[in-house]
Every structure is written in structure tokens, then in C-alpha cells.
């Protein structure tokens, strides 16, 4: 029950949102876009590793 993964992802989301707003204010929209993409990719990497773990569990359990 690794609950801290949820908080890690939420923290990344909040940081990216704040960074995005700051960069937009300072006039660098393209940087803001880059940070948004980077945040999403990082979170996606975490989620994909968890999904593959789930699918392996189901495969071994149900002999799929």
C-alpha cells in the first residue's frame, strides 16, 4: 500500500501548476509549455511502472 506515490504525483502536479503560472506571468509561454510536458511525462513514467506491476500480478494470479 504505497500511499506516498499518490502524494508524490499530487505534489508534482501542484509544483508544475505553480511553475506554469509563474512562467506565464513572466512572459515565457513556451517555457511554461515545456514544464507542463515534463511534469506530465514524469508522472506518466511512474504510473506506467505501477500499471505493469498490476498486470504482472494479475497474470501470475489468474494464469492468464
Amino acid at each position: 500500500m504505497d500511499v506516498n506515490l499518490i502524494f508524490k504525483i499530487a505534489a508534482i502536479g501542484i509544483v508544475v501548476a505553480v511553475l506554469n503560472r509563474v512562467l506565464n506571468q513572466s512572459g515565457r509561454e513556451e517555457m511554461a509549455m515545456m514544464t507542463t510536458l515534463a511534469g506530465t511525462v514524469i508522472v506518466l513514467m511512474m504510473v506506467i511502472s505501477l500499471i505493469s506491476r498490476l498486470f504482472d500480478n494479475v497474470r501470475t494470479m489468474f494464469q492468464l
Partner: protein, 128 residues
């Protein structure tokens, strides 16, 4: 009890997702996806003991192991299909969700064909 942990995690994750939904909907969707995954992993580990008991009874009642493993496969496919379809529906992609469900139904149908064939053979033997 475990149910308290599960409910607490669900509520906290829902609050996190709502916070992020306005600013970053894509990361909010992934927060809900990860929460679903964690709860699913927790349930799957509980299910293991139930399956071993069922297998033991199936063995005692000398039910053919093929039928029992097919039932397990169908349950697994149903679980994963429902999980994927629900995640897509949360993200607002109802078209993708319905396609996943259609694929799940077809796969379950394909798995059930041998049992259907066995049933038909028995039926044909009975009817003179």
C-alpha cells in the same frame, strides 16, 4: 480494518484530484488512475487466498481444471476491462471506454467457445 484505510486513501486522492483538476486536468486524471491502481493491487493480494480455496474445492469435486482456469481467466479479463473502461470514462473518453468493453466481451466470448463446444457435444449425445 483495511476498509478504513481504503476509504481514507480514496477520499484524500479525490481531494488531490479536485485540487489539480482546474489547473492540470491531465495530472488530476493520473492521480485518480494511480489511486485505482493501488486499491486494485491491494484487493488482488487479498483475492489470492480465495482462489486457492476455490481451486482446492474444484479439485475435491473433481471438476475439470480446464473449466476452472477458464472461469479464472474470464474473471481476470472482466476485472481489467472494467478498470480500463472506467479510467477512460473518468478522463471523458467514453468512445475509448466502450471500445475497451467491446474488446473485453469479445475476448471473454473467445475463451468460452471450448466450453460451449463441450456442452453442445453432451447435448447432442443426450438427444437421440
Amino acid at each position: 480494518m483495511d476498509i478504513f484505510k481504503i476509504v481514507m486513501i480514496g477520499i484524500i486522492a479525490a481531494v488531490m484530484a479536485v485540487i489539480l483538476r482546474e489547473e492540470k486536468p491531465e495530472i488530476a486524471m493520473q492521480v485518480s488512475l494511480v489511486t485505482g491502481l493501488i486499491l486494485f493491487l491491494f484487493i488482488i493480494s487479498k483475492l489470492d487466498s480465495v482462489i486457492t480455496v476455490l481451486k482446492y474445492f474444484a479439485g475435491k469435486a473433481n471438476i475439470d481444471i480446464l473449466y476452472f482456469s477458464t472461469i479464472l481467466k474470464v474473471i481476470a479479463i472482466a476485472y481489467i476491462t472494467e478498470f480500463g473502461a472506467q479510467v477512460c470514462r473518468d478522463a471523458g473518453e467514453c468512445a475509448i471506454a466502450s471500445k475497451i468493453e467491446l474488446a473485453g466481451k469479445v475476448l471473454i466470448m473467445v475463451l468460452a467457445i471450448p466450453i460451449l463446444a463441450a456442452l453442445m457435444d453432451i447435448m447432442i449425445k443426450i438427444v437421440p
